[in-house]
């Protein structure tokens, strides 16, 4: 249970990483042309994808993802992984003792890996939870209601104007470093002090209420959970960082949407002067990390940019499509996992699963190229070539010669014969015409088998001819026997 969950998360982590990376590379371009809203949603979809341990099937939701050569690809991927199994199995199986020991060692290693994963997630989560609760307790303990009635009424009027009267309690607390919204169910707005100008106050409240309206607290909780589950994946950390940035950008966007440049500038000025206001000097925050300036610059640039940016609907659809492909691919990878089952554990040591991921990834990469708007038929051609190459590889690695086919058919025939003979062995002397008939038929079949046994061992004949001749003779005998049965029946009747 836990093992499969771990493997699922690992698979998702790896497959989604690719998507995260490509989106990260595209981000500067996206920022230029699309509103923050769409990237905000895209990161959210990715986060949800990372959270769910099972494969999303888009067919359930009613969106069928079109994969023109899906079945071919499935076959190819499975074929390759099968080929891998075939190739590596003899190596693993040869020294029997050597094969058993790695298995136990590997399962131990696997167990340790799962343990590390769980402990890491638990530590990550408890660290954040402890930090959050101790912080909230402190902030609440030192909080006091707004003292100046002027400030209080100002805040109230802004809230009414934004249509959220009395949804958020506003208090001051020396323990918060900057204005912030804290709490998931009933959020409170903490201000470090009340010495803000009217304009600063207006923008601070607006900014925080927009966060509240977007339900960004839940988004952050989602990001945190995803981060806790995928703490081992640096790409997920990047996703969380980017998404956090996007939350702010989208919020700023909403605050200044449809406003003049002057208004936007006033907003920036307000943030800037709020930063400059000395907050409580008792608050020692020693740890600082780079990126604060960068983020602020990005935000200001975004706020001040009056350029009309597109709605991201095509972009949105593209990402959904890519995600669909990803979902399909992880289904495929699960299918190949099933094929690998007997050696699942040591297969991960052998890197077999990694291999199948590689194939999937190269497929994904190719698929994405083919899906991109500017894709040429050449790219599609390349994709198809990859598929046929994989299929060829499979055929090459498991050729089914005519001799093998003959052996199969012949063995089945012999088995049937043996079973029937055994069944009638003690009825040799029966006078029943039906039994007599069967015994005669068995005798004929025995002759046929003897004939082909000889032919097979003497190897005089071409193996292809052998198969053909066997099928022919079998058919002839069957026809003969049926005819004989019919004539016997008519004899009995007359």
């Amino acid at each position: 249970m836990l093992t499969s969950l771990f493997i699922d998360y690992l698979t998702i982590s790896v497959t989604t990483s690719l998507l995260i990376l490509s989106l990260l590379l595209l981000t500067p371009l996206l920022r230029k042309h699309y509103t923050a809203k769409w990237t905000y949603w895209i990161w959210m979809i990715m986060a949800i994808r990372l959270l769910l341990p099972f494969n999303l099937s888009f067919e359930n939701i009613g969106i069928k993802v079109q994969l023109p050569d899906n079945s071919v690809m499935n076959k190819a991927i499975q074929g390759i992984s099968q080929a891998n199994t075939r190739v590596e199995q003899p190596i693993a199986a040869l020294p029997v003792q050597a094969a058993i020991e790695p298995v136990t060692q590997a399962s131990l290693l696997f167990f340790i890996l799962i343990l590390i994963w769980l402990i890491g997630s638990a530590l990550f989560f408890s660290y954040h939870a402890a930090g959050y609760y101790s912080f909230r307790k402190q902030a609440l303990c030192w909080s006091r209601p707004i003292e100046s009635s002027q400030v209080a009424s100002r805040i109230n009027s802004i809230m009414i104007a934004m249509d959220v009267p009395s949804a958020i309690a506003v208090v001051t607390s020396e323990k918060v470093p900057n204005p912030m919204l804290v709490g998931f169910r009933k959020p409170m707005l903490f201000l470090p002090h009340e010495q803000y100008s009217d304009e600063e106050l207006e923008f601070i409240i607006k900014h925080e209420i927009v966060h509240y309206k977007h339900r960004d607290m839940l988004y952050k909780l989602l990001l945190l959970t995803v981060n806790a589950l995928h703490w081992f994946n640096p790409f997920v950390w990047l996703l969380v960082r980017e998404a956090n940035r996007e939350i702010e950008l989208y919020c700023d966007d909403t605050v200044v949407s449809k406003q003049s440049l002057a208004y936007r500038k006033r907003y920036c000025e307000a943030i800037l002067s709020a930063i400059q206001k000395p907050s409580s000097r008792f608050l020692v925050l020693s740890t600082s990390f780079l990126g604060g300036k960068h983020t602020m610059k990005q935000r200001f640039t975004s706020i001040l940019s009056m350029k009309k940016r597109r709605n991201g609907i095509p972009l949105f659809c593209t990402v959904i499509l890519i995600l669909g492909v990803l979902a399909a691919c992880s289904t495929v990878s699960n299918g190949s996992d099933a094929v690998l089952k007997p050696g699942t554990i040591y297969s991960s040591l052998n890197g077999k699963q990694v291999d199948s991921h590689d194939v999937i990834e190269s497929y994904e990469a190719q698929k994405k190229i083919a899906d991109a708007p500017g894709a040429t038929t050449e790219d599609e051609q390349r994709l198809k070539e990859l598929a046929t190459k994989a299929a060829d590889l499979e055929a090459e690695l498991n050729p089914k010669s005519a001799l093998e086919q003959f052996d199969e058919a012949f063995a089945a025939y012999k088995d049937m014969f043996a079973i029937e003979t055994a069944h009638y062995a003690d009825q040799q002397d029966s006078n029943d015409p039906a039994v007599q008939r069967v015994l005669y038929e068995l005798e004929q079949k025995g002759k046929l088998i003897a004939q082909f046994d000889e032919a097979k061992w003497s190897k005089v004949e071409n193996s292809e001819l052998l198969l053909e001749r066997f099928n022919e003779e079998k058919y002839k005998l069957n026809q003969e026997l049926i005819l004989r049965r019919k004539s016997k029946n008519s004899e009995g009747q007359s």
């Binding site: 660290y127 939350i247 800037l272 008792f282 740890t287 604060g292």
Partner: protein, 129 residues
């Protein structure tokens, strides 16, 4: 008294905050009244905690007729200064940012960054004119 003040548990801190914010000598019944929303105290248990605070050197008590009146021996800022250095926030500082919606990440911005941001706004202004 020692240089470093002890960190107070929440219940004691709440009482101290009431006394600090009042700014004058207060009676125990006033404290009880002020804390009604936050915590249900019985008078005897409140008296115990007050006695403990006196022991710790945070309060002193003045007799005014029949009543005891309390006054802080440590100022709010003194306490905050010492608490600020030993607080858990320092340890968890970075994690909190991930869970609250703050207007800006204040600790990650210094003075030179501020002037750069200033320039950014001014630049737009110039382009405008």
């Amino acid at each position: 008294m020692e240089n470093r003040l002890k960190r107070l548990p929440d219940a004691e801190l709440e009482i101290m905050l009431v006394i600090w914010r009042n700014g004058q000598l207060v009676s125990s019944s006033y404290i009880l009244d002020q804390l009604r929303d936050k915590r249900k105290w019985s008078l005897p248990s409140l008296m115990t905690v007050l006695a403990r605070l006196i022991d710790k050197g945070f309060l002193y008590c003045e007799k005014e007729g029949r009543y005891n009146r309390y006054c802080s021996a440590v100022s709010e800022s003194e306490y905050k200064e010492s608490e600020g250095k030993s607080t858990l926030i320092k340890l968890f500082g970075n994690s909190v940012q991930d869970m609250v919606m703050s207007l800006y990440n204040g600790k990650a911005i210094n003075k030179t960054d501020l002037s750069e941001l200033r320039e950014l706004i001014d630049k737009v202004e110039k382009e405008e004119t």
